[in-house]
Symmetry: C2
């Protein structure tokens, strides 16, 4: 952690105090032999979080940044082990807010058994950034034999999600607009490390898992799979798990929940004969209680994602041309 602002640095030192020793440094060091106990390959990931507002029902930007890195690693089949956190903070942001975020980062990491190795706080002048941005990077280790590969997805595979879609995106939009308080939803922000480990243990033939924490929501993940695996995907709108208030909120705004961001949801592709085993494994975990199959992979036009609508028609689920809504995660 660089020399930045004394009260801000203190907030982080306090929040992380119990986790590690070298908080004053922006580097950290681990025995490769200790890492090798977890598997044979290192996974390395990064993402920036710019969500607005920075505190929202169900979480805050700190929880989101930690869970996002963990979920990216876990979806690769890795055991998440260590994160770094870099914060860019607008001068004048209340120290209490920074303390809240720092506490959330520490709590989310501790709950997931992941270490925040090191961090960096950079304060910029008023107006040079909007409140606070966080970039997390993470390393994890993939157990030998785990082979999740987007290219392994093939016709017949079933696509599964671990619960309700769009909660995070709808929560952020509601918190920003005039509807705040009227929409009884909160972000699904959660660390999915354990859930994903359970799924892979129960269904070693799981083809591929993707963390659906993107601005483009599940629609974007499905398109990515269809393009990369050279397959078509068909989903069934009637099976999509969408909470009633999220559905209503989306109708008002003219958005489909498939395009809303999630913060604790994955899409998994499993062989058809493993569908029940996968659903059972997910549903046995509190974060997968509402898991369900939403569609399947087909031969045919590579890269095309279609949805059978509740009205009996078929529509194309496009790749969002850009993030549907800015600063949702």
């Amino acid at each position: 952690m660089r020399l930045g602002n004394r009260p801000i640095d203190d907030a982080f030192v306090r929040a992380f105090a119990s986790d590690h020793r070298d908080i004053g440094s922006d580097r950290a060091c681990f025995d490769l032999a200790a890492l090798a106990l977890y598997g044979d390959r290192l996974a390395f990931t990064t993402d920036s979080y710019v969500v607005d507002p920075i505190v929202f029902p169900g979480g805050d930007i700190g929880t989101l940044a930690v869970c996002g890195a963990i979920n990216d690693l876990a979806a690769d089949g890795a055991t998440p082990l260590v994160l770094t956190c870099s914060l860019i903070i607008e001068d004048g942001l209340r120290v209490e807010t920074v303390h809240t975020i720092a506490t959330s980062i520490a709590r989310a990491a501790r709950a997931a058994g992941v270490r925040i190795a090191t961090g960096d706080t950079t304060v910029v002048g008023r107006g040079a950034c909007d409140k606070l941005f966080i970039t997390t990077a993470g390393i994890g280790v993939i157990p030998a034999g785990t082979a999740l590969d987007i290219g392994a997805v093939r016709p017949g595979d079933v696509l599964i999600v671990n619960g309700y879609l769009g909660d995070h995106g709808a929560t952020i939009l509601a918190a920003r607009g005039d509807l705040a308080g009227d929409v009884p939803i909160e972000s699904d922000c959660a660390s999915l490390g354990d859930l994903i480990a359970e799924l892979v243990r129960a269904v070693p033939r799981t083809r591929f898992i993707r963390n659906a924490t993107t601005g483009g929501g599940v629609a974007s993940v499905l398109n990515e799979i269809a393009v990369a695996a050279g397959v078509a995907i068909e989903i069934d709108e009637a099976t999509l798990p969408i909470r009633v208030p999220v559905k209503g909120f989306c109708e008002i705004l003219g958005l489909h929940p498939l395009y809303l961001a999630n913060a604790g949801k994955i899409v998994a592709a499993v062989p058809p004969d493993q569908t029940e085993a996968a659903l059972a494994a997910l549903r046995a975990h509190p974060l997968g209680f509402d898991a369900c199959a939403i569609g399947h992979v087909r031969a045919g036009a590579a890269g095309r994602v279609t949805m059978r609508t509740t009205f009996g028609g078929t529509r194309i689920v496009d790749m969002p041309a850009c993030e549907h809504v800015p600063r949702i995660c």
Copy 2:
């Protein structure tokens, strides 16, 4: 790399195309066995770069972010291997500028033999960030037997820098103000991986190395060493390598070059009998040609850094209370 803005993503895909295959993903994967060929410990570092202006004489924010991560790893004694880059980009920033930065990132990484494993671009609305911020994270591997430790610094050790101080800070300040064009200096932005490897090879008993790319300059590094090692440090102003225009520029602004940021400088502590060997190793490298000893470690008031001035007096070199000048790196 997340789905963000098509022209921006294209700029990165083009710039990194030759470096790696999985540019469309925000994660990367490496064999632990391959990493173990480089040593026995993994180093993991992160930093955010918010320099303003983003393009300056001698480099740009992309070069700075890559070199900074490499130098942090190398100063730990690690062989820098892989970086991630997360960019937060203000909507409306010219695509040509993004392309320039992307090219700089790719070029700096390639020149240092380091792979950009994965990246992430996040576009925020106009006014939500000032142009472009970059957070790099890096992993490297520390060769077995390398033991650089701030706690190993002891009285008698000699403090060495690898060349002129303050060039980066003065360049950024000059580029921002009315003096632009009048000050014939440029940033010292450079990757020091090879230089540091040469130093450690020539002087295996090197106690400690710190990358001096911080807002607080060499003054901040010296204070950090004095506090962490529980020693006093005395430097000699007459020996400080400062370019004439940097000195003049600092006099105008009332700053001391010791407090100005560097972007390609280290401070190394070596045992006194290794001083000549260390200087010879550094001077044999183009980035250490102007290396010199600037002071030494003393017993006495732990944490105190003093400077014998060119006028024959002694002054205390305080830890800067905060970054001397904002957004210098």
